[in-house]
Amino acid sequence: MKSRLIKFLIVFALILGAAEVFVRINGKYFYALTDKILLKVKILERSPETEVLFIGSSRFLDAIDQGVFSKQLESKTGKKIKSMNGATTGIDADRFAYFSHIAAKNKHLTHVVLEASPPTLNHSKAVFLRELKKEKVKDQPAEPGPAASARKEVFADKFETRLQTWVTESIALVEYRKSLRADVLLKLLVLYTADSIDPNTWSRKGIVRNLFSSSDFKMPENLSEKFTPDVITPSSIDAVPPAKKLRASRFYENLQVISGIFSESGMEVIWVAPPVTEAMWTKNSSLKYTQYYKATAFRYGSFFYDCAGSDLGDEFYRDPTHLNVKGRALFSTVLADQLAEHF
């Protein structure tokens, strides 16, 4: 019977060893699964021919259908232009800037469309930026529970912390453990099917409906009139004076920094404020923020398409600040029409 136990242990160890080797070899993919922005970076790397990149929060994630946009752009300009929606939910300044630094190295990229809305302005700890040079993020140690924090740190705590760190740094399976979770592992599928299925489909609400919704969209007749973004061009700087007091400086500075990253790489940066329902125009102070964006866009010589005030009607929204499937198709089409002159 001992031989059965030995066989069991040997096979167990061999499989574990093989898994460790596999994870080590494919570390960059497993690493990419540990954070949503890393996944976007990896998707962009796998599509180097991308020319237009959208960056923003869940509002942009819901507002842009990259397939519809490219198709519409092609019909307007006659050029095949590949676009990618790099927006993610719960974005923060750190992830924003990290993604921008890496995307700016893409030689094919010519245009970057930045979302200009309050959610894209969140501050955060600069974990990603700090680690940018290493191109790797170490797992943050778990926050100790109330009992642990209340307890004075003793030898046992120090020992366990050191042991935990050592194990995490030495064993790839442990280092990338988050990527072994069932829900995260499914992102491998997202990564590998990114060329055929819009990878954003999986992170939007109403996954099933998104999957089976048609990308063919016919513009309602009277809607194009309603949908007239307020376009601020760099040449119209005299027409709209910059806001005197930019109180939200800590916010818009994030967007300035990101604009700067792409501008320095010779890419054209376009700012777009996605549409919100009428109820949000004043409630969320969207229009107040818009003034800041306008002023800042002037400074950076960027175009600013303010669609926040477009009165689309509730049928195009899934909630006051996010478009639904129909709204996405509409907005992607209209935006492609609007931006066609840049290509």
Binding site: L5, P146, A147, A150, V154, A156, E160, L173, L180
Partner: protein
């Protein structure tokens, strides 16, 4: 030391290796005691003083009871000494607060004295275990153990010291007194139990804990659908937390060649409350039956009173809060009612399932008091939440369950639904393999793939070091 830490895994593997590397029974006993002592004093070594004193005192009591002619008197002293120690550490603040409140009600204003706030880990479990041992000696069912090493391991074997199973002397001591022969099947089963228990704890219990803590932390904000889902979440959290712990404990024991009793047997499939207690925390139920219910009179006289008192005290054992008393009383009343009420359900399969569903929901509703009591204990350790009482939390929670109108916007957290379904699928997958030895009958491929899967789940989800629920008790 927490079972779900890397330190513990290495610690256990080291001592298991040393244990089997030596053939000397005495050295093995020393290793078991040493490992248990290190385990207990790992975070807070002064706890060892209490453990040591208790160990020596009870060793003395056991020998004294055996030698004395008036066994009952010595037994009473021994039991009282243990209960005093338990009361001091666990119930002194509760008793003081209630005495002060009662005196206040009759017009005597007093300030509650500053009572002990340190609850030694596992004190409820090892106190019950040792009381059972002393009673068994007085009844002549076991002999007092003369070898202090063996007695020490019986008192504090690290596999089950903190949260059970509560082991009987007649089951454990003989296993410690013989030189175990390495049994590869037991060892393999031990690995499986250890992995399965940790996976249940880490993947299910800890994940559910996030939702449950949120829900019970502010029950007033819950809407009906979410409140029910959170309650189901707790029902499965406490099961997977405690079952996970017990399964790990059994696995650890098996790796030393020591068999510990099963503590759970698919309790939510019980078709009556009586059946539930035969499946839930089995070793505690048996302890309560043998050392409380039967001495109170058992089935011989005043059966309903005995049932009620047993469950009431069983409830109080869980924690120093009125909530646990109400929880125990609720179970006591239900058991008594169940005994006297006629069978109304036909013996058809549908009705059997209906009974299971009804029992499950009844148990869930009583869990509200239990979890709210736990919330009170947690709040007592958190200055920012001073004044939170279990009764208020229970009341708010019941309001959320039955009072809050169901609204269209009441969309229960999808993740919680997925986790609950995941738990059911997971348990259906592991199924009876956690209650018997069928794992050993499986082919090598199935065994290895299941163990690898469990290990990956543990690695993937082992993010935060969360205590086991029963550590609070």
């Amino acid at each position: 030391m927490l079972f779900n830490s890397i330190t513990f895994v290495l610690f256990h593997l080291m001592f298991v290796t040393l244990y089997w590397a030596t053939k000397s029974l005495r050295i093995r006993q020393v290793l078991l005691l040493l490992s248990s002592v290190i385990f207990y004093g790992w975070y807070y070594w002064p706890a060892l003083i209490l453990l040591g004193v208790s160990m020596m005192a009870n060793y003395g009591f056991s020998r004294w009871i055996e030698a004395a002619s008036a066994k009952k008197k010595i037994l009473t002293i021994g039991v009282l000494a243990n209960l005093c120690s338990l009361s001091f550490f666990k119930y002194s603040a509760f008793i003081a607060d209630n005495v002060v409140a009662m005196l206040g009600a009759v017009g005597m204003s007093l300030e509650a004295p500053e009572m002990n706030s340190w609850l030694p880990l596992g004190i409820s479990f090892y106190t019950f275990q040792i009381i059972g041992y002393l009673v068994d000696i007085s009844r002549g069912e076991v002999k007092a153990e003369r070898n202090f090493l063996v007695f020490g391991v019986f008192k504090c074997f690290y596999a089950q010291l903190v949260a059970g199973p509560i082991v009987r002397a007649k089951d454990l001591i003989p296993q410690l007194n013989i030189r175990q022969v390495f049994n590869s099947r037991n060892f393999q089963l031990g690995i499986y139990f250890m992995l399965a228990g940790l996976a249940i704890k880490i993947c299910i219990a800890d994940t559910l804990a996030q939702f449950v803590n949120h829900g019970f932390g502010d029950p007033g904000a819950l809407e009906t659908g979410t409140a029910w889902l959170t309650l189901y979440g707790f029902a499965f959290q406490i099961l997977s937390d405690f079952w996970g712990y017990s399964t790990v404990a059994i696995g650890l024991g098996l790796m030393y060649g020591i068999k510990l009793p099963l503590n759970f047997n698919l309790p939510y499939l019980a078709s009556s409350l009586r059946d539930f207690w035969r499946r839930w925390h089995i070793t505690l139920s048996e302890w309560l039956r043998d050392y409380l219910y039967i001495p109170l009179g058992g089935n011989r006289r005043w059966q309903n009173r005995n049932l009620f008192l047993t469950m009431l005290l069983g409830g109080l054992w869980h924690g120093a809060s009125w909530n646990f008393v109400i929880w125990g009383a609720g179970h006591g009343i239900w058991l008594a009612l169940e005994r006297i009420s006629p069978t109304i359900f036909p013996k058809k399969k549908f009705f059997q399932w209906l009974k299971i569903v009804l029992v499950f929901h009844g148990v869930c509703l009583l869990w509200v008091f239990f979890r709210a009591g736990e919330e009170e204990l947690r709040a007592a350790r958190d200055l920012a939440r001073e004044g939170v009482t279990g009764l208020q939390v229970s009341l708010d929670y019941f309001k959320a369950l039955f009072g809050a109108p169901y609204t269209q916007s009441d969309s229960p957290p999808e993740t919680l639904i997925f986790i609950l379904l995941g738990f059911i699928a997971f348990m259906a997958f592991l199924g009876k393999s956690l209650t018997d030895r069928r794992f050993l009958e499986w082919g090598l491929a199935r065994q290895v793939s299941l163990c690898i899967l469990l290990l990956f789940l543990i690695i993937a989800y082992a993010d935060a070091r969360l205590d086991f629920i029963y550590f609070v008790f």
